[in-house]
C-alpha cells in the first residue's frame, strides 16, 4: 500500500474548506484552499433517452446550466463546480454524453463571460460494465465506450474526471442483504481493490494526457447501498457503519494510482480519505435529501471542500427549477461555513464541531465519520500491511469506536443493533491470517458464475 502515514493526523486539522493538497481550476477556484464551494448535480425528469429524444434531453441540460449559474452569479457565489453524472445511455453512446458535456462547457464559459462567475465541470461517466452478467471488466463495448467518454470529455475541457465504479459489486449486494461480512471484505478489499487499480491507471493516464484532474472514485454502490438499506431498517446501522469503514480501503486505491481529488460527493468515506491523502473532498448531506436520505446531514459538511446536492431532477418547484433552487441552498450552506472560517480558526472549529455534534450521537454511521473517528480509522488503514488487513483493521476500528461511544452514553444503540457488534467481531475473529489464505477459502465459498475471476487477477477455482 502506498500511504503509510496520514496527511492529517490531528483531528483539529480535519476541517471543511481546507486540505493540505488543494487544487486550482482553470478559472482560479482553489478547492481545499480555505473556501467551500457548491457542487451542483442534476438529472433528468421521467424521460427516455434515445436519439429521437436528444433535443429534449439537451434542452433540459441547457436550461439547468443557464438558470443555475445565473442564480449562482446573482448570489455572488465565489465559485461553482458542476457535476455531470451521465445517465447510462449517455456513456454507452459517448456521442450523446458529449453533446451534453459541450452544452455544459459552453454554459460555464457563457456565464463566465457575462458575469465573471468561476465554474468548472466534473464529468462522471457511468460504469456500465455490469450491464453484462457476469460483467466484462477489462474489455468489450461498455469498457471501450466508458474510456471514450472520459477521453473526449477531457479533450473538450472537462477539468475533473470521476466515476462510481462497480468492481466487486457482483457479490456485494447479496453480502449486504445477508449481513455477510466475509463477502463484504472479499468484494471490497480483494475484488474492488484489484479493479480500482486497473481502472484508475487508465483514468489517470487519460487525465494526464489532456492536462486535467483525475479526481476520485466512490464506493457508492457499496457504502451508500448499505446506508440506504440501513435507513429503511433493512440491515443494521452498525453493519452499514462497518461496511462504510471498509469502503475507504477500496476508494483509497484511486489516489494511490494518481487521483488528486476532489473526491466524489457520494463517498461518505471521504473524511477518512482526506485524512490519509490530504486531497480535497466533495461531500453531500442534508442538501442531498432530494436524492436520498442519510443519517448525517450536518456532519457530512464538517470536512467538505465542495458541498453537493448529489442529484435532483430538472422539475419545476415553486421557487424555480429544482437545480436552481438547489444551487441557492448549497450557496447559502457554503456562505455560512465560509463566514465562520473567515472569523478565524476558533470560529471555524466551532461551526465544524456543531455540525459534528448535531448528528454524531444519533446514528453509528455518523459516529464513525466524526473527525476523531475518521482519523482513527485512517490510521488503522495506513498501519496495515495489505488491503485485506487494512479492511479488517478499518472494520475493527469502527466496531471499537461504536462500542466505546455507546458505552460512554454518547451514542444510542438499541439491543438489536448492539447484538450485531458481537456478531461482526466474531466474524472478524474467524478470518484467516493472510490474504492468500482468505482468497483460497473464498474462492470455494463464493458463487463463481457471478464474476470472472481472471478480470480480478484471481485464480479461476
Amino acid at each position: 500500500m502506498k500511504y503509510t502515514s496520514l496527511a492529517i493526523s490531528d483531528p483539529e486539522q480535519l476541517v471543511y474548506g481546507t486540505a493540505p493538497n488543494p487544487i486550482t481550476t482553470r478559472h482560479g477556484i482553489v478547492i481545499g484552499g480555505g473556501t467551500v464551494y457548491p457542487e451542483l448535480n442534476f438529472t433528468l425528469p421521467d424521460l427516455d433517452i434515445k436519439k429521437s429524444t436528444m433535443p429534449e434531453v439537451a434542452r433540459h441540460y441547457r436550461q439547468i446550466v443557464q438558470e443555475s449559474l445565473e442564480r449562482a452569479a446573482e448570489l455572488e457565489t465565489p465559485g461553482v463546480m458542476l457535476e455531470f453524472e451521465t445517465l447510462p445511455p449517455m456513456t454507452e453512446f459517448p456521442e450523446m454524453g458529449m453533446e451534453i458535456v459541450n452544452i455544459l462547457l459552453e454554459g460555464i464559459e457563457e456565464a463566465h463571460h457575462k458575469t465573471g462567475l468561476k465554474a468548472a465541470l466534473r464529468v462522471t461517466p457511468n460504469d456500465n460494465r455490469e450491464f453484462i452478467r457476469p460483467p466484462l471488466m477489462r474489455s468489450g463495448h461498455y469498457w471501450e465506450a466508458m474510456l471514450s467518454l472520459f477521453e473526449q470529455s477531457a479533450e473538450a475541457g472537462a477539468e475533473f474526471l470521476s466515476i462510481e465504479s462497480v468492481g466487486g459489486k457482483e457479490l456485494h449486494d447479496d453480502a449486504l442483504v445477508n449481513g455477510d461480512l466475509r463477502t463484504v471484505l472479499f468484494s471490497l478489499c480483494i475484488m474492488g481493490v484489484r479493479d480500482m487499480r486497473f481502472l484508475w491507471d487508465h483514468i489517470v493516464a487519460i487525465a494526464r494526457k489532456h492536462g486535467v484532474y483525475a479526481a476520485g472514485d466512490t464506493a457508492c454502490g457499496f457504502g451508500n447501498t448499505a446506508m440506504v438499506l440501513a435507513e429503511r431498517r433493512m440491515i443494521p446501522r452498525v453493519f452499514a457503519s462497518v461496511v462504510r469503514a471498509i469502503t475507504a480501503v477500496r476508494s483509497l486505491v484511486a489516489y494511490e494510482c494518481g487521483a488528486v481529488g476532489p473526491g466524489k460527493d457520494c463517498g461518505y468515506e471521504n473524511p477518512i480519505l482526506k485524512a490519509i491523502t490530504g486531497f480535497p473532498m466533495s461531500m453531500e448531506g442534508k442538501t442531498a435529501a432530494c436524492a436520498h436520505l442519510s443519517p448525517m446531514g450536518n456532519l457530512a459538511a464538517a470536512t467538505a471542500d465542495l458541498w453537493s446536492n448529489e442529484s435532483v431532477q430538472n422539475i419545476k418547484l415553486l421557487g424555480g427549477m429544482a437545480p436552481t433552487c438547489y444551487m441557492e441552498q448549497l450557496t447559502y450552506d457554503c456562505r455560512l461555513m465560509n463566514t465562520a472560517s473567515a472569523d478565524g480558526h476558533e470560529a471555524h472549529l466551532h461551526l465544524r464541531d456543531w455540525l459534528v455534534k448535531s448528528d454524531a450521537g444519533y446514528d453509528p454511521q455518523a459516529m464513525i465519520l466524526t473527525p476523531e473517528s475518521s482519523v482513527q480509522i485512517a490510521q488503522a488503514i495506513v498501519s496495515a500491511e495489505d488491503y485485506y488487513q487494512a479492511g479488517i483493521a478499518a472494520g475493527r476500528q469502527a466496531i471499537a469506536i461504536l462500542r466505546e461511544t455507546s458505552e460512554a452514553g454518547c451514542l444510542k444503540l438499541n439491543e438489536r443493533e448492539a447484538g450485531w457488534l458481537d456478531r461482526m467481531e466474531s466474524d472478524f475473529d474467524d478470518l484467516p491470517d493472510t490474504e492468500e489464505e482468505f482468497i483460497e477459502e473464498m474462492m470455494d465459498e463464493v458463487e463463481l458464475d457471478k464474476f470472472t475471476p481472471a478480470d480480478y487477477d484471481l485464480p479461476s477455482a
Binding site: D46, L87, P88, E130, L229, R233, M234
Partner: protein
C-alpha cells in the same frame, strides 16, 4: 416426534438443519405435503414477513428463514409434483430494460416465494420482448415489473403496452420501485402497485382478485 408446529418454529428461527430432519420425519409419519406447505411453511413465512414489516427483524434474519423454507421446498416439491399439486400462483418478475437496480425486486421475489408463489426471476435489464416471450413460455398469473430510475419509467410503460398488445390480457401486472406511484400505475394500465416488499404479497393478491 416432530410436529408441524416444530417445522414452523424451525423456519421462523432459520434453522436449516432442523428443517432438513423435521420435513422427512413428518412425511414419513404420513403428513400430507400440502399440509406442510399450507399449515407450516407459508404461515411461518407470513409471521417472518409480518415481523419484517414491523421492523422487528432485519433482512438478513428474514433471508435465513427464507433459506430454511427453500430447504423444505427442495424436499416437498417433488412430492407435490407427484401428487399433481401446483402452486396457487405463478409469477414472473424482472427489472425493466436499461435498469440494473435489483435489491428491491429481489426482496419482492423473496416475499412472493414466502407466500407460496412459484416465482421465475428474469433478472435485470429485461426488454419488453423478453417479458412477452417469457409470459408465453411460462403462462404466469402475475408479472412484476421494477424500475428505480426515472429514465427507465418509460421502459416500464413500454413493457406494459407490449404485454397487452401481445394479447396477454388476463395476466395481472404489478409494478413498483422508488419513483413509481399508484398514479403512474393507473396511467400506464398496470393492475397494481406496491410501495415496498412487505406489502407486495397483499398487493399481488389484490391485483389477482381484481
Amino acid at each position: 416426534m416432530s410436529t408441524l408446529e416444530d417445522l414452523k418454529t424451525a423456519v421462523i428461527s432459520g434453522k436449516r438443519k432442523d428443517v432438513k430432519t423435521i420435513v422427512p420425519e413428518l412425511l414419513e409419519a404420513g403428513e400430507d405435503p400440502v399440509n406442510l406447505l399450507e399449515e407450516a411453511l407459508i404461515p411461518a413465512m407470513g409471521i417472518v414477513g409480518e415481523r419484517f414489516k414491523n421492523n422487528d427483524i432485519f433482512v438478513p434474519e428474514m433471508l435465513v428463514s427464507a433459506r430454511a423454507m427453500k430447504e423444505a421446498m427442495k424436499i416437498i416439491e417433488p412430492k407435490l409434483l407427484e401428487a399433481g399439486v401446483k402452486p396457487k400462483y405463478k409469477a414472473l418478475i424482472g427489472t425493466v430494460e436499461g435498469d440494473l437496480h435489483d435489491i428491491g425486486k429481489n426482496l419482492v421475489a423473496t416475499m412472493w416465494k414466502g407466500a407460496g408463489f412459484d416465482v421465475i426471476d428474469l433478472g435485470v435489464n429485461v426488454t419488453p420482448d423478453k417479458f412477452v416471450e417469457s409470459i408465453a413460455e411460462h403462462q404466469p398469473d402475475i408479472v412484476g415489473l421494477s424500475a428505480l430510475l426515472t429514465t427507465t419509467m418509460p421502459a416500464m410503460r413500454e413493457t406494459v403496452t407490449a404485454i397487452r398488445e401481445a394479447g396477454h390480457a388476463s395476466v395481472k401486472i404489478l409494478i413498483g420501485g422508488a419513483p413509481i406511484t399508484q398514479t403512474y400505475a393507473n396511467e400506464i394500465g398496470a393492475d397494481g402497485y406496491s410501495r415496498d416488499a412487505a406489502s407486495a404479497v397483499e398487493a399481488a393478491k389484490e391485483a389477482l382478485a381484481s
